[in-house]
């Protein structure tokens, strides 16, 4: 029976967890203590709920206009700088894109305490085509955790930078590389995998923080046991209710063995609810981008997963885009917030998907509560049927119905989604979500591809352009009411907003732009720009805040790159198909050039 196949690995994992028990409470307590201290920025999102909110308020709506650059730091690396540094107890830990350098900086002196630079096979650089980003570090129990591009997960001694343990997470020769930040929940280091465009079969993995040993691994697609799905107790939203997924819920939705190269990679941000002991993340696109080669719903690609952190067992799943035809990768972050949904207090999970819908689910059981467009230009589906949870696809924009070698035109959003990995913020005061978005549409032409191990496995040609019939820009910064599924305010931006947002108790909402501006707006009226400063390069990093010696700082990486920066800046420069749209992208070259650095701001003394 499949069920016993599932239980065996699950129990052996529990066994490992029990052995490490003395570390369990400590690790959890340490990270919790660090994030409870407002002076720190101890996790990539500032907390385990992915809220990106700082309680600091020395810098506020009244004085942010006087903010100045306090100090800067060059990483010495070109290419896209995503994520942000961490700050723990007066030390800052910075990462860089490939070759994935790590710096520890003493905030008293701004001196480099130690530097770590791994040796990695340069063959992984092209496997990460087209940019070699890394989304940052994790910190717990005196360990700095780095997830290298070549899939090595490394724990460094936070005091010395010396390696404590390392473990190989994937096979880069097959395109299984990493860009995600590792996350520490309880006694586990959680990491994912990239390579959806190389036919990598996605998974999420938990390693013991204490020794780096694999505790459990749950695939996104395939047999129940390998996904850590129990057909009787793992549930999903079906026919207006939460019901068990039943046996072979993934295998039934794939033709033949396609699932073995089926994608569903996991390179986003993860969140954790301690009370429920559940972690949340999304899975990416099914491989290939040519839908005709993989008929079926391709479960559980494009899916929100809730897993038990101790065992990895899937508690519930919800697939946002069954049978993807547009590369609407579902990896964007899950933000946990306790809010009123349709008037009722709810333990909510809020997710802004690449497919252009903002979802609100009950995070305790995966019940679908709200699914509405967070960009009015989204056209590939009319709406999400709330009973089935399925988007209602518009035939004209179906790249599968139009078929291979046919260019499906004017699909909104583009493959990079109404939002990509750039994380949104939740503000507990305004109860609103602050969402950096893309306002871009595309033409999409799928074609047949053959799989060769370690070679690209894409199967579509794309051309992207600003949403037609709008303000001409390629981005919006919006506020969103996740209880009603409505845009509250929308601030037009010239380029996609590819920077993670930060909200503060000082009344601010801050984000970066591709031209390189750090902007802080009034969180009660985001049209009101209170601060703007041009950093050395375009910003695709996430804004963060910390306090040191009584002073609040706001910082951000600049360093243009990533899909938006390089893909859009250079990609369409000479594109004759984009017509009037092209001008917008070409203009980015007038604002910025490659180069990674950190800029940190504070009020003058």
């Amino acid at each position: 029976m499949r069920i016993s196949g599932f239980q065996k690995p699950a129990w052996s994992c529990v066994g490992l967890a029990l052995l490490a028990l003395p570390g369990v409470t400590l690790a959890n307590a340490d990270v919790e203590k660090n994030i409870a201290n407002d002076k720190n920025w101890a996790m990539q999102a500032g907390d385990m709920y992915n809220q990106r909110y700082s309680k600091l308020k020395q810098i506020n709506t009244g004085n942010v206009g006087k903010m100045q650059v306090a100090w800067t730091f060059s990483t010495g690396v070109l290419r896209g700088h995503e994520g942000s540094p961490l700050v723990v107890d007066g030390k800052m830990y910075l990462h860089s894109p490939f070759p994935n350098k790590v710096f520890a900086i003493d905030l008293d002196t701004n001196k480099i305490l130690w530097k770590y630079e791994p040796k990695q096979d340069p063959a992984v650089i092209p496997q990460m085509c087209c940019d070699t980003v890394n989304r940052g570090l994790a910190y717990a129990e005196g360990k700095v955790i780095l997830q290298q591009a070549d899939s090595m997960l490394v724990a460094l001694d936070a005091k010395t930078g010396k390696k404590i343990w390392d473990v190989k997470n994937g096979d880069p020769k097959l395109g299984a590389v990493n860009t995600n930040a590792p996350h520490v929940f309880k006694d586990k280091v959680i990491t994912g995998i990239s390579g959806g465009e190389w036919g990598v079969r996605g998974f999420i993995a938990a390693y013991n923080l204490s020794d780096g040993k694999l505790a459990w691994k749950g695939y996104s697609v395939g047999p129940d046991a390998e996904m850590l799905i129990d057909p009787n107790t793992t549930t999903t939203w079906t026919d207006g209710a939460v019901k068990p997924v039943g046996p072979d819920s993934s295998l039934k939705t794939w033709k033949g063995d396609q699932w073995k190269i089926g994608g569903g990679t996991t390179w986003g941000w993860y969140s954790y609810d301690k009370a429920l002991n559940l972690m949340y993340y999304g899975t990416g696109n099914p491989s290939t981008w040519n839908p005709s080669q993989r008929p079926g719903d391709n479960k559980w690609s494009m899916t929100i997963f809730a897993r038990d952190v101790d065992t990895g067992k899937a508690k519930w799943v919800y697939q946002m885009t069954p049978f993807d035809e547009w590369d609407f990768d579902g990896i964007n972050e899950m933000i946990l917030a306790d809010i009123d949904v349709k008037g009722k207090p709810t333990k909510a999970l809020v997710h802004f998907d690449r497919n252009g819908f903002g979802y609100t689910l009950d995070r305790t059981n995966g019940a679908l509560l709200v699914a509405e467009k967070y960009d009015p230009k989204v056209n590939w589906a009319t709406h999400v049927d709330m009973k089935t949870g399925r988007p209602q696809v518009v035939a004209k924009y179906s790249t599968a119905q139009n078929g291979a070698d046919v260019n499906t035109k004017g699909v909104c959003p583009a493959a990079l989604g109404s939002k990509d990995q750039q994380p949104a913020a939740f503000d507990p005061e305004t109860k609103l979500f602050y969402v950096p978005t893309n306002h871009v549409c595309m033409d999409y032409e799928p074609f047949k591809v053959e799989y060769t191990a370690g070679q690209p496995y894409v199967g579509a040609t794309l051309s992207m352009f600003p949403a037609p019939g709008s303000h001409g820009g390629m981005g919006n910064y919006i506020t969103w009411n996740a209880g009603t599924g409505k845009i509250v305010q929308s601030k037009a931006e010239k380029f996609s907003v590819w920077s993670g947002a930060l909200n503060t108790a000082g009344g601010l909402s801050c984000y970066g732009t591709l031209e390189g501006y750090l902007k802080c707006v009034d969180k009660k009226n985001i049209e009101k720009e209170l601060f703007k400063f041009k950093t050395p390069s375009g910003i695709i990093g996430n804004v963060f805040s910390y306090e040191h010696k009584g002073k609040q700082y706001i910082g951000v990486f600049s360093g243009i790159g990533g899909w938006a920066g390089i893909g859009m800046a250079a990609g369409l420069e000479k594109d004759t198909d984009g017509l009037g749209a092209v001008g917008g992208y070409r203009e980015l070259n007038q604002y910025t050039e490659l180069g990674g650095s950190l800029t940190v701001f504070a009020l003058p003394n």
Binding site: D121, P122, A123, I125, P126, Q127, C129, C130, D131, T132, E197, F447, V449, E450, T452, G454, Q455, P456, Y457, V458, T461, L462, S463, I566, G567, A570, G571, L572, E573, K574, D575, T576
Partner: protein, 126 residues
């Protein structure tokens, strides 16, 4: 009449550059012979556009319109086969679809670089 003239011009360009008669054939700037079509399909299958741009204009990787003005055929084959890993160019040496069609791929890209093929997406000559 116009078509014949264009075809003649294109053949002249291809022939004069390489001293061979038919590296590629092109009509109206985008209708090409079967070999060149194979080269285009190879370009798509190998996802070269991810780095070199949808129109070979350059992205993270260099513009192939420019590169093929100076790169010899031998250098081209070596680069595709072995890669330039430090620069981010992967090796396609173990990709049968690329290595079995390397001449056709070269013909297509050379046609784009020469300016004889005027748009990236080509169609077969009917």
């Amino acid at each position: 009449m116009l078509r014949k003239t264009l075809l003649g011009l294109a053949l002249l360009v291809a022939g004069s550059a390489f001293g061979q008669s038919q590296l590629y054939k092109v009509v109206d700037g985008y209708k090409v012979d079967e070999n060149t079509m194979k080269g285009f399909r190879t370009w798509r299958q190998a996802a070269c556009d991810r780095c070199h741009g949808a129109n070979q204009e350059g992205l993270v990787g260099p513009s192939l319109v420019n590169s093929l003005k100076t790169l010899t055929k031998e250098e081209f084959v070596k680069t595709v086969r072995d890669g330039r890993l430090e620069k981010g160019m992967q090796s396609f040496g173990n990709s049968p679809v690329v290595m079995d069609n390397i001449d056709q791929l070269y013909a297509y890209l050379k046609g784009r670089s020469d300016g004889a093929i005027t748009r990236a997406k080509v169609e077969p000559i009917q």
